[in-house]
Symmetry: none
Subunit: 219 residues, 2 copies
DNA sequence: CAGTCCCCTTCAGGCTGCTGTCAGCTTAAT
DNA sequence: ATTAAGCTGACAGCAGCCTGAAGGGGACTG
């Protein structure tokens, strides 16, 4: 597991680094937020330990920025005792846990293990298709890392395409998928939903075969 | 949990008592050390909140005496003396934690929970989700540091979401979780419980996917 | 055993926003 | 150029969802 330690206190920093190393994890230790910013952009860490009082700014801002970019790397805040509001603010800003200085190194290990375990839970299998990442179990689609919410009908339609990638599907077939036998649709409903899907997922995702039907485009 | 509050300041004492009561704990409030001495001899408390400056002596002495008798009830010191020497003396005398006046009541709740946890065996791992801090083992949730009591059904429901954060869960799936196979629910029970959860935990916690189900919102 | 309290379920009314429909426009094929 | 086929903005209706209120029932107390 790769851990980023952001801490300007050299004594505490060294102690934490050694403790983590003793646990068999690898540590990158930086003492400034700007350096940390570079690190998280170039390396995918599994966990970030963040001190709140640093020479070049407050850690809260760093954390908020991180989350604003959509980064969900777990963060444990290390904070001194008298920063009550900071701690609450930290958790609200998206921290996963906090430790109050001075903390026990064994407790640090425990917290790291806890967070790691929480996040190593088997994630759902992801299907990639071009810029789209599809989590079938969660029914979520990310486009360029951003969540794209689909409505029920849109999902049903998109699922039909995903089930037969590259295969031509006539409107009649699609209607059959979307509407249990009995229901009747007498208009261009499929066209409308395809249009809505393309607007959300990108126009290249579904291709039109004039007179024949639709098919899922190549990634 | 039974808590003994030893504090001679009537304003602060009342505030602390109310806060603890709001957290669902029971409080005994005394203003003198001799009364406190009687209390600890007749009642088994789970936690003692101890002011250091009292009309009939210093709290440190009381604490030392307590420990000398082999009493290991956790003690949190409340002190206006923001002095390192006092803190150290308090901790050396056997205190488990301390709060410097004026302190945040939410912080007090958190500390109480923390101490309680420490003495209930290992510290339980805390899961943070936005403004929520969730103790899965203790089945307790703190929102902005304040305890939010959940009923059995509410917890079962919330747990289902926590198990698969971000994943879409249909009402059918949730019903399966809440009601062992046999039971039948023929109404909008899930909706009602979701509604109650949102009222307690914040409306953004659970998101509705119309026609498909619910999912745990992003922190 | 009566009394009390609180949780759970059910129901009903109100609201939201998805969905199907249509009209007018664009594109492709002949 | 003509025509068929597909695209898309707009909109009304309604299914699905939310929530306050009420009643039943279980657990606890005196």
């Amino acid at each position: 597991m790769r851990i980023l330690l952001i801490e300007d206190d050299t004594v505490l920093g060294a102690a934490v680094r050694d403790q983590i190393a003793a646990d068999g994890q690898s540590v990158d230790w930086v003492t400034r937020l700007d350096v940390a910013g570079d690190s998280v952009r170039t390396t995918a860490f599994d966990l970030i330990l963040l001190d709140l009082m640093l020479p070049d700014g407050r850690g809260i801002g760093f954390l908020k920025e991180l989350r604003a970019r959509g980064d969900v790397t777990p963060v444990i805040i290390l904070t001194a005792l008298d920063q009550v509001s900071d701690r609450i603010e930290g958790l609200n800003a998206g921290a996963d846990d906090y430790l109050v200085k001075p903390f026990d190194l064994a407790e640090l290990s425990a917290r790291i293990g806890s967070v790691a375990r929480r996040y190593s839970g088997n994630p759902n299998p992801l299907v990639s298709h071009g810029a789209l990442q599809i989590d079938l179990a969660a029914r979520s689609i990310h486009r360029d890392g951003k969540l794209v919410p689909l409505t029920a009908r849109e999902w049903a339609l998109f699922e039909a395409f995903l089930a037969r990638p590259g295969q031509l599907l006539s409107k009649a077939q699609l209607e059959e998928k979307l509407y249990a036998f009995d229901a009747e649709v007498e208009s261009n409903t499929i066209e409308v939903h395809v249009s809505r899907l393309r607007k959300k997922l990108g126009s290249a995702v579904i291709e039109t075969e004039r007179g024949m039907g639709y098919r899922l485009g190549k990634p």
